[in-house]
Every structure is written in C-alpha cells, then in structure tokens.
C-alpha cells in the first residue's frame, strides 16, 4: 500500500513530496524527543507539530510521510526544508485518532 491509497480516505491534501512511497507502521505524537526515538524509517508520523523542528526530526528518522492532523498547515519555510529533504507532508482534517483508525482498518497487519 502506498501513500496515494490513503489520500482519499483521509480527505488529505498533499503539501509536498512524493505519494508513491509505500509505508509500514504508524507513530502518533507531538513531543519531538519521543518522536525522535520512536519514528522508524517508512513509518507514517501523525502529528499536529508543523514547524521546522518537525522537519529536522523527520529528516533524521525518515518516515514515509508526516501526516498533519486537524487541517494543520505547514509554514512555507518548513515546507521548503521538507521538499529539499524529500519528506512527504500531508494534511488531513481528521484527528490523529481518526487518522490512525483509518490506516489501521486499511492495513490489518498494522493493527
């Protein structure tokens, strides 16, 4: 399954990056030190933190995508940094919980 498959169920808007990437596993959280040690490569990281430090953590942990919950937008300078580092950023109107439920239902292996 790729990020493309999630876009419609999440009513998602792609803010930057490639959505042809496949993913595996989800981490939900906003505290950067927690995310730093728990986000694995190819995970989806669901958060409402959308600053340049979020992008720095993603650059180091290499999730398949950052999904911003609750329609959170990302400032342009952070999006520029994400683009430069090949990080996909997606925004969804759903809550972090709702996003997790949608992904879990679509990927039984992640339940």
């Amino acid at each position: 399954m790729t990020l493309n498959d999630l876009c419609q169920p999440l009513s998602a808007k792609v803010l930057c990056g490639d959505t042809d990437k496949s993913f595996s596993g989800v981490y939900v959280g906003d505290l950067l030190s927690r995310a730093m040690s728990r986000v694995s490569a190819d995970n989806i990281w669901v958060t409402i933190m959308a600053n340049s430090n979020t992008v720095a953590v993603a650059t180091l942990t290499e999730p398949a995508a950052i999904i911003l919950a609750e329609n959170v937008d990302m400032p342009k300078e952070s999006l520029d940094a994400a683009t430069k580092n090949d990080i996909t950023v997606i925004s969804s109107p759903l809550s972090a919980y709702e996003i997790s439920v949608v992904i879990a239902n679509m990927t039984p292996e992640n339940k």
Binding site: D30, L31, L32, S33, R34, A35, M36, S37, A41, M49, N51, S52, N53, T54, A56, V57, T59, L60, T61, E77, N85
Partner: protein
Amino acid sequence: MPDKVRFHFDVDGSDFSSAGAASVQVKKKLRQLAYPPEIIRKVSIAMYEGEINMVIHANGGVVDVEASDEEIVIVLSDRGPGIPDVDLAMQAGYSTAKDNIRNLGFGAGMGFPNMKKYTDYMRIDTEVGKGTTVTMKVKL
C-alpha cells in the same frame, strides 16, 4: 569506511528554526561513508538531542565528531549555565524548558535519557556558570 574522519560544527544558539542542522549534515556524511543504518540512527538521535540542548539551554556551542571503523565519538561543548544536578537532569521526563520552547514540541525531558540510551558511552562534564561538555561514543 575510512580510518578516521573529523567534522566540526558551530551551533547557532539564537535560531530554533535551524536547530538540528549539524545532526542532519553528520547523518548525510556518515551515509556517504557507508556506515550501517542502525549506527547512523543512534548517532543521529544522540547528536540531535545534544544539539537541541545546546540551543535551548546554552545559547549554542560547538560539536566535534570523529568517525572511525571502530566507533563514532561526538563531543558537544557549550559555555552555557551548566547543570546544577546532573542526576536530576538524567531522569526521564525532567525538563527545565520554558513554555515557549515546549510549544515547539521540545521539553519532553527525554534529551539526556535518549542520549544515554542510544550510545555506548556518555560522560557529562559540567560546571555551573562555566558550561557543559558532553562526550558520547557509539561503537560499531
């Protein structure tokens, strides 16, 4: 992998938006040098936490990294306020970060615990009013 490679970075303490830049550069260089992904991950986490600490608490500092085929040594030095109680600072969840810092997603109190967890050696030399030097090693 080379015999020994050294990197030096000045960390700007006034710019939160660029915090982590040195860690990202080290990660890219280690990847170019073909270090194993798990080693790069450990170094990235430990160095990022140290770099962020220097920006949050010490108005920046310097980082020196030495990579060999045996280990990667990271030394972070600052002239910040020093740490009055290192044992307390090492406790998971303990943080002195201000609210404006917490609003950026920092202040989880996991900086030092992550640095210890992801390295094979960690030493903190600190003096109140003088500064702090943290030395970490990740063995291959």
